[in-house]
């Protein structure tokens, strides 16, 4: 089990924090990119319908 | 063969016609090296210690700056397409361009570096090794730069892009080039890094023309 009194706790926390930031950032950008394209596709579809 | 020589001859004549190009690269190299003592301080021991790295890094940057016009003018005035569809294979065209760049830029850098070595108190024993290491290294840089110029042809901000692409690829050349001079400064035999540097130059001689030719074909498409 992780020892809360360890002097290195802040470094471990920072490392996993960085991991969360990077993975989270990638996920958020990917999802936002997809949403933007999906909306653009809907707009293009609507414009074609008579 | 005469197609190769005519491309080489034309590029050298063009370089001489607006001679400023070659001189500006040498000027940049000299100014770049001269700036370091201003930053680091005048102590001879310190300067001698960093001299190989500074000279080599500045040679690398000076070479990098002179690549963007390599294909750009031919691309813009339309002579690149007939050259690619002439009797000359694109790979040979790339070699002619790399050789013309080396003669105009690489060779002068080799000759100027030992002189600038004096500015950095480079031990005299290391001067010849510096010259030989650059003699082996600058052709490798010319080949890499020619590949970078072909890849970045027609791109936005081509010069910066070219440096960003080529510098990581040129890191091994810098490491062994400066490493050889370091060994010479420390009085050790610089044989092995120089041999590895020569090996790398030959490897790039094989890889870069093929990759650059593919890039040129894409640029023209």
């Amino acid at each position: 089990m992780i020892d809360p009194a360890s002097p290195y706790l802040s470094y471990v926390a920072a490392a996993y924090g960085a991991c969360a930031v990077v993975l989270g950032g990638m996920t958020w950008r990917a999802w936002r990119g997809w949403r933007r394209v999906r909306d653009a596709w809907d707009r293009v579809q609507r414009r074609d319908r008579p | 063969m005469n197609a190769f020589l005519s491309v080489l001859g034309r590029d050298l004549r063009l370089a001489c016609r607006d001679g400023a190009g070659a001189w500006m690269v040498l000027g940049f190299f000299a100014v770049g090296v001269a700036v370091f003592p201003l930053g680091i301080g005048p102590e001879p021991q310190v300067l001698a210690r960093v001299a190989p790295g500074v000279l080599w890094a500045m040679a690398l940057l000076s070479a990098m700056l002179s690549f963007d016009a390599l294909f750009e003018d031919d691309f813009r005035d339309g002579s690149l397409e007939p050259m690619l569809t002439g009797a000359l294979a694109p790979e040979t065209l790339v070699l002619a361009k790399a050789l013309s760049h080396w003669l105009v830029t690489g060779l002068p850098l080799c000759l100027a570096a030992p002189l600038l070595g004096f500015l950095l108190h480079l031990p005299h024993a290391a001067m010849p090794v510096l010259f030989v290491s650059l003699l082996l290294g600058t052709p490798a840089l010319s080949l890499l730069g020619t590949l970078g110029a072909a890849l970045a042809l027609g791109a936005r901000r081509a010069t910066v892009l070219l440096a960003l692409m080529v510098l990581p690829l040129a890191a091994p050349v810098l490491i062994f080039g400066a490493g050889a001079v370091d060994l010479a400064v420390a009085g050790l035999a610089p044989g092995s890094p120089l041999l590895i540097l020569g090996g790398m130059a030959l490897a790039l001689l094989a890889v870069c023309p093929v990759a650059a030719a593919a890039a040129l074909r894409q640029a023209v498409e």
């Binding site: - | 034309r10 005035d77 007939p82 690619l84 002439g86």
Partner: protein, 218 residues
Amino acid sequence: MRNMHENPFSAPLTSGFFPLILRGVGYARGEAAVLGGVDMVVEAGSLSILRGANGAGKTTLLRLLAGLVRPAAGAAAWADGARPARVPERAILIGHQDALKSALTVAENLDFWSGFSGLAETPWPRGSDPFSVWAHADVPVRALSAGQRRRAALTRLAFSSAPLWLLDEPTTALDAAARRIVWELVAAHRRRGGAVVVAMHGETTPEGAAELTLGGGG
């Protein structure tokens, strides 16, 4: 004006591999289809005129015949089965740009192109000067007018041994005399067994020429 009936060419014609046959050739730039289903046969001694609105793909088709561009659909092959991209030296393309270095003189530019096309034993052979640009041979190209640059660019045809000529609106910026020389050169090239494909606007189609109009694409 030199007599055109002597041989204006200094390079022998490499044996033609005609006909060059295009079947359903298509090309797309990015997502937009520029060429759709082009069928064409280029015979020895033939002259084909490409017509069509701007963006109809005339220049793209010329670049495809020159081997600069690979067809996205359909196939283009010479009689011996070779694809244009594999044998680019069989065609010479004179595009909108002049392929001349403005820092060099006309003589230096044409010396380069004659050396590049394998005639290096004599510098730009003065014999092959159909557009009589020899008068301002030592003038840097940047000092020339558009018409003079165009004449110098077209002089490259004189020392090319490629059997297929591809001319993209060759007569733009040319005066009447130069225009006549272009068509005389084309006729001379066809007489010696070469083929010519010209993209053109306006100007009447010379007699004995096949015409191909490219669709509204692009």
